[in-house]
């Protein structure tokens, strides 16, 4: 029993410790972006960057620890609350939730290839191909 508890604790704490989401954009994206702007973009309220170019936010899968940490730290909502929020917009034609990608590498690939894309990955996964936005 004790072993199981230790194991569970380890699992839970490693998950939290591992998930430190950082927001990334294309290296060519020179827009000033703060936490408020990121929140607005990921809730579908802001569709353009400051320079007028289109925003394409990309999400991680709902089960990922990075997504859950991003939702609670940046969007200030739980992942299920974010899902409930989007369900309202989807069914009233007011918005479509960001596409979900399967891994940090996929997010980095897309961000580095497209100046409109904004995403987030675990800090440990960041490469030189993308620009980190410190919130």
């Amino acid at each position: 029993m004790f072993k199981i508890i230790v194991l569970l604790n380890l699992l839970i704490f490693t998950n939290i410790a591992l998930a430190e989401p950082v927001v990334i954009v294309n290296t060519g994206n020179a827009n000033a972006i703060d936490a408020k702007v990121v929140k607005r973009i990921f809730l579908g309220k802001e569709k353009k960057f400051a320079d007028g170019s289109e925003t394409v936010p990309v999400n991680q899968a709902a089960s990922s620890a990075t997504r859950q940490a991003f939702d609670s730290e940046v969007l200030k909502r739980s992942t299920t609350q974010v899902a409930a929020y989007w369900s309202k917009l989807v069914f009233t034609g007011k918005g479509i939730p960001p596409k979900e990608l399967g891994s940090d590498a996929e997010v980095i690939d897309l961000v580095s290839a497209n100046p409109s894309v904004i995403g987030y990955v675990d800090r440990a996964s960041v490469t030189g191909a993308v620009k980190v936005i410190e919130l």
Partner: protein, 389 residues
């Protein structure tokens, strides 16, 4: 939230639809859906409750169909700015007959302004848009004293405008159209419907105001027969009672404070059908809840006051004092007004559990106190599963 690849759709759709779809290179079709499975029963053996169509809502035996529903929504982008949406909804209370709840075309004029044309939801309440989607809120169903009004959809146009000033986000809506709905054993219809809403949000705080008006008509065979029987005696009284192209007004105020770990919200509404036998309805609810991990326990108090302070039209009836017509006219005048009077309060304790990001499981217990007839006091217990995809 699934996006079907066009290829897949083209493969399975009948040829004309496939041709239509492939007409436009930017056509992307999304299929979403939601379902609520709700089972419940009353704890009081000889009391049944009624829904807005006067059908049995809950009774001692377990009822599955009253609040259960299933819906599919299909949206297609016709261009960058134009999309078409159809929502097919099948309600348990309508024997699961599938109907087009919504069917509209949406034109995104700018990032902030959209124009919607077709059959759409009238924006009376905070949760009007998502009232059928149990997954979108903490209740099993939205508070009925406020939300159960004669009609919820309109045929016409709705303009939605959203923007922000500093830290304040705001949205404005204007809806225009006509409506038609089965209601209380008859049919409710109206035209010149106008609904205007203004909403402002500042971080944890939200305020919403609504104004609505329409020229409404209510046809019900029994009521019409009663009114026909007195029309020759007093056209004036008949006119004052009959709901026929008479102005109706709606006022609403919504307030919400959401601190994430807990929230409190309220909506206050007034529905006033002028020149009719229907008393003005004042209703409100106050709800508060906490978010504790995957659980959201909440408590909601509601009140509906649809009783006139004084019986209307008494001066018209009094003109017939001393004649044999006084008694029947007086009986019809008082009878119609009191039979449509309502006064009740409800208290509901509910809990929502997040099963995962597309499924919520809920349970609630509700006590209804009928202030007009204590024999209708009842306690209802329900469990629900809400699903979105």
């Amino acid at each position: 939230m699934k996006t079907l690849p066009k290829k897949l759709l083209t493969k399975y759709l009948p040829i004309p639809a496939a041709v239509l779809l492939s007409f436009n290179a930017s056509a992307e079709t999304r299929i979403n859906g939601f379902a609520n499975f709700v089972a419940g029963s009353t704890l009081d053996s000889d009391v049944t409750t009624l829904d807005i169509n006067d059908n049995v809502a809950y009774e001692e035996d377990i009822v599955f169909d009253t609040d259960s529903l299933f819906a599919l929504q299909i949206s297609t982008d016709l261009s960058d700015k134009v999309s078409a949406t159809a929502q097919i909804l099948s309600r348990g209370r309508d024997d699961f007959d599938a109907n087009f709840e919504w069917a509209y075309i949406s034109y995104k004029a700018t990032d902030n302004l959209s124009v919607n044309l077709g059959r759409l939801r009238a924006p009376f309440f905070r949760y009007s848009d998502s009232a059928d989607i149990g997954f979108s809120y903490h209740w099993i169903t939205a508070p009925g004293t406020v939300y159960d009004v004669g009609f919820t959809n309109l045929n016409g146009a709705r303009l939605d405008y959203n923007n922000y000033i500093g830290d304040w986000e705001y949205s404005l809506q204007a809806a225009l159209g006509t409506y038609e709905s089965d209601f209380a054993g008859g049919e409710l219809s109206g035209n010149n419907l106008v609904v205007l809403t203004a909403e402002a949000t500042y971080e944890w705080f939200k305020i919403r105001t609504v104004y609505g008006r329409a020229d409404g008509t209510f046809e019900n065979p029994e009521i019409d027969a009663t009114l026909d029987s007195i029309e020759a005696i007093s056209p004036e009284l008949t006119e004052a009672l009959r709901v026929e192209d008479d102005a109706g007004f709606f006022l609403g105020l919504g307030l919400e404070a959401d601190f994430y770990k807990w929230f409190i919200a309220a909506e206050f509404t007034q529905v006033d059908q002028t020149a009719s036998f229907v008393p003005t309805d004042d209703a409100f609810y106050i709800t508060a809840g906490a978010r504790i991990g995957k659980f959201t326990p909440s408590i909601t108090y509601e009140e509906l006051d649809g009783v006139a302070d004084n019986i209307a039209n008494q001066e018209i009836v009094n003109q017939f004092a001393g004649t044999p017509f006084f008694d029947p006219l007086n009986a019809v005048n008082i009878g119609l007004q009191t039979s449509s009077s309502n006064k009740e309060s409800r208290i509901t304790a509910a809990i929502r559990y997040e099963f995962d990001t597309s499924i919520a499981i809920k349970a609630d217990v509700r006590r209804i106190d009928d202030d007009i007839n204590d024999n209708n006091d009842v306690t209802i217990v329900r469990v629900a599963v809400n699903y979105i995809f």
